[in-house]
Structure formats: structure tokens, C-alpha cells
Subunit: 344 residues, 2 copies
Amino acid sequence: MMLNLVPFVSVDNMMKLVLHLGIEQVMVDLAAEIEADFLRWPAFDKTPRIASHSDVGVIELMPTSDGETYGFKYVNGHPSNMSRGLQTVTAFGLLADVATGYPLLLSEMTILTALRTAATSAMAAKWLAPKGATTMALIGNGAQAEFQALGFKAICGITEVRLYDIDSLATEKCARNLAGRGLKLVKCRTPEEAILGAQIITTVTADKQLATILTDNMVGAGVHINGVGGDCPGKAELHRDILLRSSIFVEYPPQTRVEGEIQQLPPDHPVTELWQVMAGQTPGRSSADQVTLFDSVGFAIEDFSALRYVRSKLAATGFCTQLDMIADPDDPRDLFGMILRAAT
Amino acid sequence: MMLNLVPFVSVDNMMKLVLHLGIEQVMVDLAAEIEADFLRWPAFDKTPRIASHSDVGVIELMPTSDGETYGFKYVNGHPSNMSRGLQTVTAFGLLADVATGYPLLLSEMTILTALRTAATSAMAAKWLAPKGATTMALIGNGAQAEFQALGFKAICGITEVRLYDIDSLATEKCARNLAGRGLKLVKCRTPEEAILGAQIITTVTADKQLATILTDNMVGAGVHINGVGGDCPGKAELHRDILLRSSIFVEYPPQTRVEGEIQQLPPDHPVTELWQVMAGQTPGRSSADQVTLFDSVGFAIEDFSALRYVRSKLAATGFCTQLDMIADPDDPRDLFGMILRAAT
């Protein structure tokens, strides 16, 4: 083994890997990996992501470790990027060996983040949404939308997705991409139309403002809300009144209270940690008319799970290259000599 | 410009770049870049590095931003690595555009960290060491030693370096690598012998313990101590009594109080920020018999400066490749469609 070489999954190789495994299968697998890691939640070093904010966006580092493997993701969020022809969110990540500090994997994570975000949403809905839910409203039809739709199909058995976006071209794009994949797709002209008959409402818009895409009178009893788009300070999608009558489930409270929908609420407003529901420590949905809200912001453990999943698939599929990223002189004390010898 | 491609400096290209520019010249240039950035210290977002500790080492992320450019470094510190034939410290880093969050450069930083650490040490000594210093004791002759020796030669005019290591093979290695480079080299068998006649004492050992390589009676009046090796909790090189009679200069107090030699002192023990000396806000060395100590732990701004320097050299030298790291669909909302089209 060449110690200087780090396996690298490029964007091209990530697309090939995902297509090889199947997009829905990848999300089913990711949900299982994330669930397994959420079930050993106390084993992880956890910290709110480290954010560097500017007027136009944020750049974040999201580290975690289970004591054997360390992982982190670099991710940005720049809502104004779209108008410049750029991705709102781009990301890459790394796994390293805790015992040596040497990197084990470098991977693109723009695509992987889209997959793990949808897998996490659907995993949460499996625990929180009303039993037998078949219809989902999908408000916001941008880069994350198709992943959400297919994740909920594959993991929760959703059969109908009702699409709405403030820009009808986004809805057209989304419907086109999802056509022929076994989902009934309904293009809607208003949010009100989109939520008709939906047991699950997913909001996944990108504006950096307190936009309140859903107002209180739109949310009926028994609905599960999957709030994905409100994920940084000053960015929310749900009216405060909805929050006040919802049972709120979160990933990691110290991060969600800063970034999530609950930034609109007092810091001591009760929330439930999703992993505790999965571990049987606290109830999830406890009545048919309860409004449940998964206030999703994305947490480092989900990226850790996703990176480990990708790494586990590389030996058999070969969708990676080797990066000469770690200086590794024969004598570890002779870094200088290694440079000198490179001249000859 | 292909937006998905990120310039990448491999270990091999970093060695070629450094050899092309000249090792000493690179450190002179880095000291100038770091000094320029220290002089605009208040312009930077600063945070203590985010450390993930284990029994055998630490993995750290070191982010900073000047509002236009964001940078971070991944670095580990595993003293036990050497006995396994691995580097104690490995690193890589990234620059990104604050306006878009898109990466601008990915680079190996094991070699670059060694260079910037020595450049920072020598830069600090330029402000703090006694005028006309010509002799340096270099205690600890491992991976960082040659860089320190040549950095002090190029930046401070040091002509004699007195080498000591608990392992004489390390001293032999260091002397061999430095031979013929214009330095008088004296191999010493004890720390006491190494400090004879030295106006500057550099300690750069790697043991993770409170090792007190220097005791109080070894440090004479007027000496400048460049304490490099004590750089994480539980790792120190200097006896507390030395600290108590030294004027202590640090990079970023919130980080140094946790990681540096001053972890041995009360949290309100007075220290001076090096940038304030450089900016003329506070005096540096104020008398000939003062003992000055640069309690160096390494700060994110130094890596930021170093990465920007490397980036500035790529267009003319071409020592980089292009990594397909950022998913960049033609329509930024159509990440899913980009994956689908990769199948065809």
C-alpha cells in the first residue's frame, strides 16, 4: 500500500457509482447506514458545524468521529449562486484513520449530500409520518427536489408527489426528470394546491430569508412536515405558528437551534432528538392528528455515514482514482531529505 | 473556465515547486506573506482550531477568512506515528472564494506546513531575538528541524546551528541534509552543550508529554526561545519556571492558552500577541537581558498566507493538476439531471 495515495471519488466517478448501484438503492442503503449510526449516537464526537458567514452565503466545516474513523465535510450555501449559473450548495468530504490521522478517502459530496439529505428526510418520515402515507407535497423544485421525491418513494412508499415552485420552470424540470419512475406527479400552481391530500409536506426552497412558505392555516391535523430548506441563521420556511403546534424533531439541538426553523422559537422550546426516537427512548408520532415536524438542517454524522458507505463500495466497483496527497518519506523524520531527493 | 475543476497541488508538485523556487527563497517569501497578513490581523475571522482528540493523537481543522478568500487546513498530530514509519504531522488545505463558496485550490500541506512553521518562527525571531544573533540551538532534529535551520539562516542571518536530539541518528540525518548550505553545524551530545553561546534556542520535539526539555538554569539572560514543539494539550517542552521569567509572545491567545507552553500557566497570565508587536502597538524585546519566548502553536492565518502564496505561483510554473471535484450542471437546479445524463 502506498501511504502517500488517498482514494479520491471525483464528480464523474460519483455519478458512475450512483448509476451503477441505482439512485433509489443508494438512498435506501444510505438511510440504513445513517440509521445504524444514529443508533450509536453517544459514540460520536459531536460539534455544531463551524460556519464562516458572509453577506451572500456561508462556508461550513462539519467534523465528527466515532473514535475509529474521523470524517468531515466542507460545504457552502450561497442562495445567490443560482442566478450566476452556479450551484447553491457544493461540498466535498474526507475520512481519516483516527489511529494515525492519515486520510482514507477524499470524495466529492455535492451529489452525495443531495442523496444523504433525502435519505435522512425519508428515514425521519419513516418514524414520524402518519402510517400509510402515500402523497407528498414537494414545495421547492430545485436541485434537491428529485432526490427527495425518489427517497420518499423508495424508503417510505410514497406514490404521489405534488410539485410546486415559485418558478414553474423548476417544476417542469423536476417533473421531466422524475417521469417514468413509478411516481404519480402532479404539477401545482400554488402551495395550497400542492398540499391537497398530502400526508407529508416537504419544503426545500433556497431563499436566504425568513420566507414562511407555509402558513399556519395550510397545515392540517396529522400532517408530517419535512422542513429541509431552512438551514442557516436568517433562513426559515415555516410560519412560527406552525412550529408552536408541532411536535418538533431535530438532529442535533445545539446546531438546529441556531440554523433550523426553531431559530424562531425561544432557546428552551422543547424538541426531541430523532436518534432517541429511533433508539426507543422517546415516542415519535403518538396520535393520528398530531403535526410532526422534522426540522432538518443536516448533521455531520449523516456525512460520515455517507462517506463510509461510498468507501465500502470502492473495492468492488473501482470508481475512484489515487491522489498523491500525503508526504510519506521512507524515514518519517526525513521530510526535508525527501524534497532534496525529488531534485535528482 | 471549467467550474467543476479545482487546481490541485500534489506532494510531487509541491516538491517541484519548492525546488524550482528554492527552499530558502520560499521561506523568505512565506515570512513576508505571513507578516503582511498579520499586519491586517483584525480583518480575519478567527477561531481556535477545531480539535478531535484521541488517545494517540489529534486531528484538527483550521479555518479562517479575510472576507474575500476562505481557507482551511486539515492537520493531524500523532507522535506515535514515527515508530510506525509514518509522519507525525500530515496536512492538506483548501482555498475558496467567499463570494461563491467554490474551491479555488486544494493542496498538500505536509511540506507547506513545515515551511510555513519555520518561516513563522524566523519571522517572530526577527522581531524578538537579540540584535545580531548568529547562533541557534536546535533541540529536536526531526522532520521540522532542517526547515527551522534554513529559515533562521535566510530570514534572521543565523550562521551557526547547534544540533541536539535524544536520538543521535536524527542529529546525523539533520546534519547530513544541511551540509554544504552555508551553515556551521555543531552536533551536540547534550542539550546543555547545544545551548552554549546560542542567542536563540529552538525547541522542536515531538513527544506528547510535558517533557521540559529545557529547565530553568539552562536559559541565560537575553536569550530568545522559539518554542515550536509544545502545541497541544498535555504537550510542553519548557519548564514552568522559564515561562515565569520570560516575556511571552503568541499567535492567537484563545488557541495558545489551550495548546501552547502557557497551558502550564494561569489563564490570565499576561501574553503579547505577535501581530501587535509587528503593527507597532506594543513593544517586542525591550532590553538586552530580557528572555523572550515565542510560544508557537501554528495558527490558521499562516496556512491561509501559505496557500495564497502557492496559488500565486501556479500560473507561471504549472505545478498543479485539475481535480474534478465540484458538480457543476449547466442548469444549477438540475443536479439530478446531470447524473441521469452521465448514463448516456
